[in-house]
């Protein structure tokens, strides 16, 4: 009647302990757990957990992710026009759910806080039997939930998380990241910036004073110093400072001629707006036009900055105006259903859901270790970013990175960014033990409780 649920690990370790005595029969009778794992789907359906920010400053990105994920579920279940499943290079998915099981989902609110994100992920795993967790719009929760999924023995398909640590210092065997990262932003942006603004530039950094800010600042400054730029100053700014004027005002006098705003979300909107108000766009320094760079762009956020984004360089994971078949299919499918084009946050989680489902199909089982094996070193195409590799060493996707610029003459409210260059994957690839990513270990795959 009852069933002890114990992770394999603690059994191996603690079988001598008194508390496990009750478990003895289970330990010795059941060797069947090799095929057993957390939340093994037994009915006619399988549950995925969509953990996105619904409250807090990233709520709009979270809402867009939820839309894309609902679309992915429709497509997996064979409803709708199939979206990128038609252009995806792997043809394992048949539109009859995953392994014939209908896909269902549960949702949770990360509140963009590590605690809340973990609580809602845990409830999806413990209460609703979710076998995979995806979604999220910042790195703190992504790293926290990834560690949780590793412990619980389910797969984590990271959403929008850009800090190096997700697949660097804090990488986990059960976690995968499709989104690009700070290093890639630097590697893609530096050559474009050099071409546009010249090699003799002096950069001033305003950096968000938390983890993502540090890794991104490091990545951009190292990459730009590689093409000959000089770093004049780096100043840390508090999260949610609101008004950045006191940080921006001294920039012009510092001898710098480029301002790099290592901010995301609301902070990016505000610091950029402030910088433009202070006339930095029209200023001259060292005999050159003063320029502003925003390493990580988001169209949803660019909207908040209005006209201020015009002409400003940045990088992005994906943009709806890409001309390839995959992007077109996704934009059409999403746009027809919701009436506006998808954001990069929506795109990345859609891909992650499809990639997960495909890996299950190919491995023939929902067993997380099988899924991990199927995803490691998996090469695919047709999901909007060109040929892509899911590297086994750190579970990071390697694909083309887009360098974009705020459009001077937008034709619609969605048409804010134009693609300047598609930096090939080769150029943004790095060894998995690169110093910016050092100190992490994937460990072994965990299938959870038996």
């Amino acid at each position: 009647m009852g069933k002890l649920y114990v992770s394999r690990r603690s059994l191996l370790k603690g079988s001598a302990a008194a508390g496990v005595a009750i478990a003895a029969p289970t330990i010795f009778t059941s060797r069947a757990w090799a095929s057993d794992f957390t939340n093994k789907p037994t009915g006619s359906s399988v549950t995925l957990g969509f953990n996105v920010p619904q409250s807090g400053v990233y709520a709009d990105e979270g809402a867009d992710q939820l839309r894309a994920l609902q679309l992915a579920v429709e497509h997996l279940n064979g409803e709708g026009d199939g979206g990128m499943m038609n252009t995806f290079s792997s043809k394992a998915l048949k539109g009859n759910g995953i392994l014939g099981k209908k896909v269902e989902f549960v949702t949770g609110d990360t509140q963009t806080k590590t605690d809340a994100a973990r609580a809602s992920a845990r409830s999806m795993i413990e209460k609703d039997g979710a076998i995979m967790i995806t979604g999220g719009s910042s790195s703190g929760p992504a790293v926290a939930v990834q560690a949780l999924c590793q412990e619980a023995g389910v797969i984590f398909m990271a959403g929008l998380t850009h800090a190096n640590d997700t697949t660097g210092k804090d990488r986990r065997r059960n976690g995968f990241r499709h989104f690009f990262n700070s290093y890639m932003s630097g590697a893609a942006l530096a050559p474009v910036l050099k071409n546009a603004y010249g090699a003799d530039r002096k950069a001033y950094y305003l950096t968000a004073d938390y983890n993502w800010g540090y890794t991104t600042e490091q990545a951009i400054s190292q990459a730009t110093e590689g093409v000959g730029w000089e770093t004049v100053n780096k100043v840390l700014t508090p999260l949610g400072a609101g008004d950045f004027s006191s940080y921006i005002a001294p920039v012009l006098k510092s001898g710098a001629d480029v301002l790099v705003l290592v901010h995301y979300g609301g902070d990016m909107v505000n610091s950029l707006t402030n910088a433009v108000q202070f006339g930095l766009r029209d200023a001259q320094a060292n005999g050159k036009n003063f320029e502003i760079v925003v390493p990580l762009y988001s169209r949803l956020m660019a909207k908040g900055a209005g006209d201020n984004v015009k002409g400003i360089f940045g990088s992005t994971n994906w943009h709806w105006s890409l001309p390839d078949d995959g992007s077109k299919a996704f934009t059409k499918s999403f746009g027809t259903k919701y009436g506006f084009p998808p954001s990069q946050a929506a795109h990345t989680v859609y891909c992650q859901a499809i990639l997960y489902a495909d890996a299950v199909e190919r491995s023939g089982s929902f067993h997380p270790c099988g899924v991990v094996e199927a995803l490691e070193d998996f090469k695919f195409d047709g999901l909007g970013n060109g040929p892509t590799l899911y590297r086994a060493d750190d579970h990071q996707c390697f694909k083309d990175v887009l360098v974009v610029r705020g459009k001077e003459k937008p034709e619609s409210e969605f048409d804010l960014l134009e693609i300047v260059e598609k930096t090939p994957a080769k150029q943004v690839t790095y060894p998995h033990d690169h110093p910016q990513f050092a100190g992490g270990e994937l460990g072994t795959c965990n299938a959870g409780t038996a």
């Binding site: 409250s55 807090g56 400053v57 990233y58 709520a59 709009d60 809402a63 004073d209 100053n233 100043v235 840390l236 700014t237 508090p238 949610g240 609101g242 008004d243 004027s245 006191s246 940080y247 005002a249 001294p250 012009l252 006098k253 609301g266 909107v269 505000n270 707006t273 402030n274 108000q277 202070f278 006339g279 029209d282 200023a283 320094a285 949803l300 956020m301 909207k303 908040g304 900055a305 209005g306 006209d307 201020n308 709806w320 105006s321 934009t331 059409k332 746009g335 027809t336 084009p341 034709e411 619609s412 969605f414 048409d415």
Partner: protein, 343 residues
């Protein structure tokens, strides 16, 4: 020298917002004895008055333009704004351009109404309740107001630019004889500062030179005696609450071009403005204004990179540090009366 002037100027600007919010907060506290945790939400509502007017002025209908296509390849539906259609692109465009200052006209009645409704409907019943209850009920109200705004406007910041004439900046340093680019000051920030001064002056003048203000000041000092004189102080206090709401709302309206408003902006200011009020001295109007400017300037200085290098993280905590020091050294704040709110 120029660096110092620069940061003082920046601080004045930040301080203007703090001072306006703290002024309203103190007004409510001083007159009604109520700790209003929804005051930040009033600031946010003011900002959304500007957003709403902008939305309203840019109401449009769609006209299909067959020569162009949208992102799905269908014929593009071009948005045509009614106001430009009716008044011509010249005047219509100008009205839209000036939507932020125009929002003042909308914000005054709207905020007054909200203030009246709040006081009559909710706050009135809490005069005699403990401060903890006041904090809780107004905090609950702040959450409700925020969520309602989020429901209609989403969570992303919404761009609300200043009129074309006030965008850009001028070189203040050159006027003072420094080298170019040493002190750049955006026009709109100058407008905001002057606006704040006018509002503050108006509130003080109102309290000082009108009979109404005199009664209110008397009520602030000794409510019971004023009541015994047969003056209906309650009604006047309601009006004061509405005025405080208007002040917070106007501060919000004019702030939108500086920081794009989102539903959460009030909460960011709330904690800060309480610190400002306490530093200034509970119940002291000049104290609140002075402390607002003082803390704004200190915050600016703490954000200089030379200072941060010296004391890492100082820019994160300066406001709280000042609050702690002031409260320990001079518990009634800069200009507060002794014993206010001590229990």
């Amino acid at each position: 020298m120029d660096v110092i002037i620069l940061q003082v100027l920046n601080g004045l600007d930040k301080g203007s917002a703090y001072a306006l919010i703290a002024l309203g907060l103190t007004l409510i506290f001083g007159t009604l004895g109520v700790v209003n945790f929804a005051h930040g939400a009033l600031f946010m509502l003011g900002a959304f008055c500007a957003v709403t007017l902008n939305r309203f002025l840019t109401l449009s209908h769609q006209v299909v333009d067959p020569s162009r296509t949208d992102f799905l390849g269908n014929p593009l539906k071009v948005e045509v704004r009614y106001i430009e259609e009716w008044l011509g692109p010249e005047i219509g465009g100008a009205i839209i351009d000036w939507s932020v200052p125009l929002s003042i006209l909308l914000a005054i009645p709207v905020m007054a109404l909200i203030g009246l409704a709040m006081e009559r409907g909710l706050i009135k019943h809490f005069y005699k309740r403990p401060h903890a209850d006041q904090i809780l009920v107004t905090f609950g109200l702040a959450i409700v107001l925020q969520q309602i705004v989020k429901y209609f406007y989403g969570a992303n910041p919404i761009a609300t630019p200043a009129p074309e004439a006030f965008t850009g900046s001028f070189d203040f340093g050159v006027l003072l004889g420094f080298e170019p680019f040493s002190i750049i000051y955006p026009y709109w920030r100058l407008v905001y500062f002057c606006f704040a001064i006018v509002i503050i002056a108006a509130v003080f003048a109102f309290l000082r030179f009108t009979t109404f203000g005199m009664v209110v000041r008397a009520g602030m000092a000794d409510r019971e005696t004023v009541g015994l004189l047969g003056i209906n102080i309650g009604r006047r206090f309601t009006v004061m609450f509405a005025i405080a709401a208007i002040v917070a709302g106007l501060a919000g309206v004019m702030y939108t071009p500086i920081v794009a408003p989102n539903y959460n902006m009030g909460m960011n200011f709330l904690v800060l403005s309480f610190v400002v009020v306490v530093v200034g001295g509970m119940g002291s109007l000049p104290g609140a204004v002075a402390a607002g400017f003082l803390l704004g300037i200190l915050e600016s200085f703490a954000s200089m990179s030379a200072v941060i290098d010296l004391v890492p993280g100082i820019n994160q905590v300066i406001i709280y540090l000042v609050a702690i020091i002031v409260l320990l050294v001079r518990p009634r704040g800069l200009m507060g009366r002794k014993g206010v709110m001590e229990d």
